[in-house]
Each structure stands twice: as C-alpha cells, then as structure tokens.
Amino acid sequence: MYRRVILVSLFILMCNLVLAQKDTGFFKVPYDTSTSKLNMDAVYNRPFLTHKKVPVAVGGYLEANSIYTINDGITDGLSFQARRLTLFLSSSIKNRLKFLTELEFEDGTKEIAIEFAALDLTIHPLLNFRGGIIMNPIGAFNQNHDGPKWEFVERPDVSTGIVPATWSNAGFGIYGKTNKNNWVFGYELYVSNGFDDRIIDNEENKTYLPASKDTEERFEENNSGLPMISGKVAIKNRKFGEIGLSYMGGVYNKFEADGLMLDKKRRVDVAAFDLNFTIPKINTNIIGEAVYAYIDVPGSYTQQFGESQWGMFVDFVQPVYRPKWFKWENSTLNLAMRFDYVDWNMGMFNGTTTLIGDNLMAITPAVSFRPSPQTVFRLNYRYSWQKDIVNNPAALSSSWIFGFSTYF
C-alpha cells in the first residue's frame, strides 16, 4: 500500500512541476556531456527540471521494451516490458550542502528501491563527505547505470550477475576530484553495510552476490557487524578517456551471535577495472569493465557455490550517421556490439583436474538511434551460451529486444 502512496505523491509532484513549466521560472538542466565528468559524477550528472526560485530539481528516466526470446528452440512469445521508472530528486539545501535521491520502480511496482539517497557536504573539491544510502563504487556501471546512457536494453551480465547493480547500501565516506590541464582525477572511499550469507545460499544455486539484495533488513542491519569498505580511483584524459580501479570487500557471514563464535569470519572481496574511451577521428566509443570476486566459502560446503568468479563486458559504439529528421539537431544513429562473459565458478572440482563450468557468454549486436543524447531507441539481438556446472552442452538463448529509454 505504502508503495502506491509514494508513487502517487511523486507523480503529483512531477506533474505539478511539468505543468508549471509554462511559467518562465522553470527550466531544464540537460546533463553535461562535456569531458570533465567521471563515472563517479553520474548521480548528479543527469538532466533535471528545476525552478530558479526553488532549490529543488527533479528528473528521472523510463525504460520500456518489447522482447522475443527463444530458449533452446522454445519461446514464450512476445512480451512488453516496462522495466524501470526511476525518479531523482535533488536539492541544494545550503551552500556546500546538497541532497539527492534516486527511487526506482522495477517491473511496474514489483520492486521499489531507494538506489541512492545521500547528503553531500563539500569542504574542498578534494574532500566531500557523503552519507546515507550510497552506491558502492565498484566498476563503473553500478554508478553510471541510467538506461538512456546505454545502447543496450539488457544490463551487462557481469554487472547483474557478479556486481549486484544497482548495489547501494547505508553508509558514509568521502570523495574528491581534481583537474589539471587535460587530466581529471577522482577518488571515493566509503564504509557501508555489506553482504550476507545469501551470497552462498540462494535459489540461483551459485555464489551470487546479487542474492543479498533480497535481504529486506539490509538497510537497518549489517549481517556481519563489520563494515564493508569500498573505494575507487579514476583518472581521465579529456582527449582520450577514463579508467578506473575499484575495490569492495568485507566479512559477509554472521560469525558471532550473542557473543558466541559460530564460524570464522568469511570475506568477500571484489576488484574491478573499468575503462571508457573514444578513438579519435573515427569516434568509436569503447566501454568495458572486468570484475574479479573472491568469496571465502566453507570447505565442507557444496562446490556448487564457487570461491572465485570473474566476468567482463565490452561495448563498442560507432556513430554512423547524423540524420537531421524533424529538425533534430543532435541526433545520431549508432551501430554497437556488446560482448559479455561471466564465470561464476572458476577453478576445478576438488581433487580432480576437471574444470568447473557455470559460465555464460553472450554477444549483442545493436542499432540505436538517439534523437538527442537523452533519449535512445534501440534494437538489440542477443545470443547467449550458458553452461551448467559440469560443462554439459550450453543452453542457447536468443532474444530480439526493441525499446527505448529516456530521461524526462
């Protein structure tokens, strides 16, 4: 019920602001496509609608698509999906103090999540405090996940199968940024709640970090009682692109209850490398991320749940044509291709030289059309090969996906 209330009140707020747009006081702040922004700026770097006299800005995006999937030759037919409606609300509370929240409605109102809700205090560009519900800076996609920024309807497999995008937690920390000539450097460091035992005990039947997202108490209670640390450094050359190195880790299990030791402390550690650059002249944009995770799984537990996993994705986006339809100034037509790979269980079965399977590979060619940088229409064809734990012949799946995503 409370979901409806949230939804309706937000909607009314949005409508008021939009209707009031006729009043000259309202204006739209587009998102900054200039080159001084890093992935870490993504939460604030979005188009907002605001009013000169009100220190509040709102924005959001919608993602909808149709999908036709064939799994091993069998299809459930055509579906229409309204995957996400996300609303942002930001306000400059006072000089140097600002607040932003991002609410996400997934698959209608099936899942409502506060993906971000934090207060930022700027002391110096190199030293800002942030606290609340923060997005853990692991890889780039987790923080920079808005649908309209991508040419693909599906999120990268590594970002939903290893990194639990969008992965945010109650916590706080510091971040900062500095520029010199063509260089931009940024860092972030947070302590927050972390993972729980579900990562090695879930219906996916694999070590699956996103399983912790189902724990409803995770914003009020930290399962292990020890903080998870996450941090990132990123460096960007304005002419070329950005690379980032990030880490997130902590104890995930409830090793102690009522002062009694139940188990040893078991850690999960995740490291990621991300890059985003554009090849000069031909303007090919290459975006990618590789993630490695190590999870301390009890030795006597089933090997179904792997100790180490890795995955990556790379997107190639090539603008090919700038149609001037309907006087759209900034429109582009892109060809794109994504490669996904995830191995949820690296290594071999105990005492054997037999490799453990449990991996997925996918390719997704795509065409996308952007009337403006804030809206994308995309046609994707995804083909994937998924192997079970003992490497039986891969399950094959293909999907046609057509949809759009737009900021509003």
């Binding site: 005990d201 060809l335 039986n392």
Partner: protein, 396 residues
C-alpha cells in the same frame, strides 16, 4: 559520409531481417531425456509441471537444507533428468552381511559429506564398508513402476534352472510403513519385491523420493521425519503434496526414444546384443499392468532391464549390502537413454554404479559373475561387430 551511413543502415537492416530466423532450434524430442509421456491429459500435465519445478527446486538453509547433506537439489544430481557426475556422487556405508544396516545410529546408510556453514559434515564410522554411487537417469520410471510383481517373478531364475549361468532374483526387502502396495503385490515372509535404486532396495518411487529428500538433501517429510544430522524427528521441511508431485513427475517422464533405429549397423548391433546374451539381463521388452495414469496402463515398452539382482563378480563387489542384496549383487540398469548419458555427464561417460567405466566398452568389460560368459562372448566378436553392438547401445 551520408551515403555510407545510409548504406550501412540498409545493410544492417538486411542482416537483422535474416537474423530473425536465427536463434537456437529446438532439440528433437529423441535427443533429450526430459519431457512428459505423450497423451497426458491437462490435469496430469499440470501435475507434471509442478513436479518438474519441485525436482529443480534449490533448497536453501532457510528451507531446511542439511545441516548435513550431499546436494541441494534433485536436479543437481539427476541433471536434465539424466545421469549424474562424480562431483555429486555419494557414498553409502554399512556392512558385508545381510543382517541390516548396523550404522543407522551413526549416520547411516548415507554419508552426508557436505555441511551448511557452521556445521561439520559426517565422517565415516570405522568398521563400515562402503559403496560409491553415481546418480542414474530418472526417465521412464513410471513404466518400470507399473510392471507387475508376477512379471518380475517370471523373469527370475534364482537357482539357474535353465543352466545358462544367469540366475537373477527379485529383491525381497522390508518396506517402509507409508508405501501403498501396488495391485497384485506379492509378499514372502513379510518382505516385498523392491525394484528401484542400484541394489533395488526401494519398493516404489515414493520410498525412493522421500529417502532422497532425507538422505541426499537433509530434508525431512512426513514420510521420513528423522533429521539425518541430529537423528531426531523434526517438522517436515517439504510438504507431503510436493513429494507426491515429484513422484507423479517421475512416473510421467517419458521413456527415452531410440535414435537411428533403421541404421543397418544399429540393426546388426541389436542382433548381436541378443546373440551374446546381453538381453538375458538387459531385457528388451516389458509390459505394464494396470496404472491409474491411463497412458501407462497395459503398455509394451523397451527398457533393457529385468529389474533383478545379479551377482556381477568380485570386480564389482564393494563389500556392502543393502537390504537383502548381497555385496556383489546389482540390479540390472535400464539401458534406454544410454546414448544420451554424455549430455548430462559433462561430455563423458561415467557408467556402472560408481561411474568407473569411461566408455561403453569399458562398462561391458567390467561385467563378471553371472555376466562372465556374456562378456567373453562379446570379447570374441570381431572389431566390426563390437562397433556395431556399441553403435546400437548408443542409439538407445
């Protein structure tokens, strides 16, 4: 530039249109083990689907997994309803005589060698003898279940009256109180003819399933309420109705379908299979009697088993008894679906009870005891004939 752009759009469009026909094609029904028997009515189909889901259900700690267990899902061991792999193999332990399992109060009969976090797995008690078992396929079991006791008794020849060296006997075993006897069930000194499992120790699919929940996953039910870790009765962790759905699913999984039946080598191989007496144990044709599931009633089917226990000689003797089955006795496994084993065993064959045979030929060469003569006859075949026989087995 503009033209190039336009051209690429057109080319791309053409690629997409031609790709729309792309996409994985459905494997032929004969190439997969899963799927229901043809002709189930819609009520039966929906029960089948519920059972299918329960068979694939992954048990978590919250749902009662363990504390000690072997695997967390029926389908983890019976992958795609086919055979399992070494990775989920389990060990049973007991003794070498038929006085009954003496280790029931020490965690017997099965070794739960995995434990949920914070618990220690079971260890083998000293003095126990053991056998390792690889999961069999679970297809076509409804047919095997519906064969009458009378038919099995007609197949056995415990004293080898016909002098062919092959005796074969039904497994007279004790049965749990919760099973319902099949029509025409025969009894002898309080024992009944059991037929499922590698040593045919389980009377019916309910006993096998309730036992699997309990011993393989540490999941208790009204049927098997004792938790294998504590040895104490606990609340049922799986609903009675779910257990019945799984049993219904097992009964209505289709029998594997033979492939390449008309290939001349396959036909020649089938003749050799009879000629070298394989068919005396791996009986090709059987009949079901009455079954409440009408598609299973009074049907002829081709399982290549006699559901009887045979002494397989010292090589396969694990020094472990189950019920009344002696240490060297194994129930003839059905050979239907044999050729599809690799698809669930990670691209390799792991045959015989413990998966020690890595090829069909190796499996044949391990036959001893009552099958000694048959194996020798096989060894005397020419290379071409051997290849034909194996090609026939792969077509099953």
């Amino acid at each position: 530039m503009k033209n190039i752009g336009f051209l690429s759009v057109i080319i791309l469009g053409m690629i997409f249109v031609s790709c729309s026909k792309l996409g994985p094609i459905e494997p032929l029904e004969e190439d997969v083990l899963d799927g229901p028997i043809d002709g189930l009515n819609s009520t039966e189909l929906s029960e089948f689907l519920k059972g299918d889901e329960a068979f694939a259900d992954v048990f978590t700690v919250n749902e009662g997994l363990g504390p000690v267990f072997v695997a967390n899902q029926c389908a983890a061991c019976h992958i795609g309803d086919g055979k399992g792999t070494e990775f989920v193999m389990f060990t049973r332990f007991g003794q070498s005589d038929t006085s009954g399992n003496q280790f029931l109060n020490q965690g017997g009969p099965q070794l739960q060698h995995k434990a949920i976090p914070g618990y220690s797995p079971e260890v083998l008690p000293s003095g126990a003898t053991t056998t390792d078992l690889v999961a069999p396929a679970v297809t076509g079991l409804g047919y095997l279940d519906a064969v009458s006791d009378a038919d099995l008794l007609a197949l056995e020849d415990p004293n080898d009256v016909d002098g062919d060296g092959i005796s074969g006997r039904v497994h007279w075993n004790m049965i749990p109180g919760y099973v319902t006897l099949r029509p025409g069930s025969v009894t002898l000194n309080g024992r009944y003819i059991s037929r499922f499992g590698k040593k045919a120790a389980a009377y019916d699919l309910l006993a096998q399933t309730a036992g699997a929940y309990n011993q393989d996953m540490g999941i208790t039910s009204v049927f098997e309420p004792i938790d294998p870790f504590s040895g104490l009765p606990v609340e049922p962790e799986v609903d009675e109705s779910v257990v019945h759905q799984v049993v219904f699913y097992l009964k209505t999984l289709k029998a594997p379908i033979q492939r390449n039946q008309d290939d001349p080598d396959v036909i020649a191989g089938k003749n050799l299979f009879t000629q070298v007496s394989c068919v005396k144990c791996h009986v090709d044709v059987m009949q079901t009697s009455y079954s409440p599931i009408s598609v299973l009633s009074f049907q002829e089917f081709y399982p290549y088993t006699d559901l009887l226990l045979h002494d397989m000689g010292p090589g396969l003797d694990d020094n472990y008894t189950e019920g009344n089955a002696l240490t060297s006795e194994w129930r003839t496994p059905a050979l239907w679906g044999l050729g599809l084993s690799k698809v669930s065993q990670g691209g390799q064959y792991l045959l015989m009870h413990d998966g020690r045979a890595k090829s069909i030929e190796e499996a044949i060469l391990l036959h001893g005891g009552e099958a000694d003569q048959s194996r020798q006859q096989y060894e005397q075949l020419s290379d071409t004939e051997k290849a034909q026989l194996i090609k026939f087995l792969e077509s099953l």
